[in-house]
Symmetry: D2
Subunit: 98 residues, 4 copies
Amino acid sequence: MTEHTGHGYIGNKDDYLKRLRRIEGQVRGLQRMVEEEQYCIDILTQVSAVTKGLQAVSLGLLEEHLGHCVVNAARAGDREAAIKVKEASDAIARLVRS
Amino acid sequence: MTEHTGHGYIGNKDDYLKRLRRIEGQVRGLQRMVEEEQYCIDILTQVSAVTKGLQAVSLGLLEEHLGHCVVNAARAGDREAAIKVKEASDAIARLVRS
Amino acid sequence: MTEHTGHGYIGNKDDYLKRLRRIEGQVRGLQRMVEEEQYCIDILTQVSAVTKGLQAVSLGLLEEHLGHCVVNAARAGDREAAIKVKEASDAIARLVRS
Amino acid sequence: MTEHTGHGYIGNKDDYLKRLRRIEGQVRGLQRMVEEEQYCIDILTQVSAVTKGLQAVSLGLLEEHLGHCVVNAARAGDREAAIKVKEASDAIARLVRS
C-alpha cells in the first residue's frame, strides 16, 4: 500500500465498481454451484468467466496507470520514469504469470 | 448446466467453499480499493492474488473431475470415454486461455 | 524423461511436426526482428503468435494423452488411474501457469 | 510492421538473441521428442519451459519499450503519449491472453 490514494486516476470508477460487483456475484454463484455439487465442467466454465472478468479489470486499470502515473513520471524526470516503468513492468509480469 | 448434480464427486466441499468465500472477500476488498482510489499497482497485485486463488480452485476441481468422471467414463466404454475426454479437454483449453 | 516411448499414442505425428517446424521458423523470424531492431510492439505480437502456437500443440497432445494413457490407466485399475490422473493434473497446472 | 527500426531501443540485443537461439533449440528438441514419441507428459513439460522462455523475452522487451518509446512519447506531447499507451496496452492484453 502506498500513499498515492485519491488521485483521481481512475477514469470511470463507477464502471469498475459495477464490474467488480458483478464478479462478486459470480463468485457467490460459484459457491452455490459447489454447494449443490453442480457438474464440474459447468463450474470450471464459470470460473473461466470470472477470471476473464478480473483480467479485463486489470487491463483497464493498467492502461489508466500507464496513461497517468507513468506518463506523469516520464515528464517529471529520468529517475521518476525509471521507478514507475520498473514498477509497472513487475505488475505486468505478475499479471501475465497469474 | 447439466443434470449431473449431487454426484458427490467433490472430495472436500467445505474446503472449496472456504476458498471461494475468501475469494469473495478479496473481490469486496478490491471494490473498496477502487472506491478509495488506492494506488493502481496495489489493486493490480490484489487482482493477481484473486486470479491465482480462482486458478487453484479450477485445478483442484479439474483433478477431481479427471479422477472421478473421466475414470468412470473410461470404464463405461469407448464412447463414454471419448465424450468425457473431449469435454475435459475443452474445459482445460478455456482454463489455459483465460 | 521416461521409458514410455514409441507407444504410438500421437494420432497425427506429421501434423505436430509440421506445426513445430512452423514454430521453429517463427522463432528464427523473431531473431531476425531483434537483430534488425524492428519495432518492439511488432516483436511482441509475433511472440504472442508463437506462444499461441505452442499452446495449441500442448492442448492437442494433452487431449491425446487423456484419451489414451489416462483412459487405459483407468481400465487397468484404481492405483494406475490415480497415478496418471495426478501426473496429468500436474502437467495441466504447469500449462495453466506458464 | 512499422518503420521504427534500428532505433537502438533494445538494451542488450545479444542477450535476447542468445535466449531466442536457445528457444529455437528447444523447439527443435520438441520435434525430436514428438518424432521419437517420447512420453507425452515430458513433451508437455518441455513446451511449458519454452513458453516460459518466450514470456521472459516478451516481458523484457516490453519493459524496454515502456522505458524508451512510451517515456519519449510522454515527453513529446499528450497525443503522442495517448497513442503509445494505447498501443502498449493492446500488446499487454495480447500477452496476458496468450
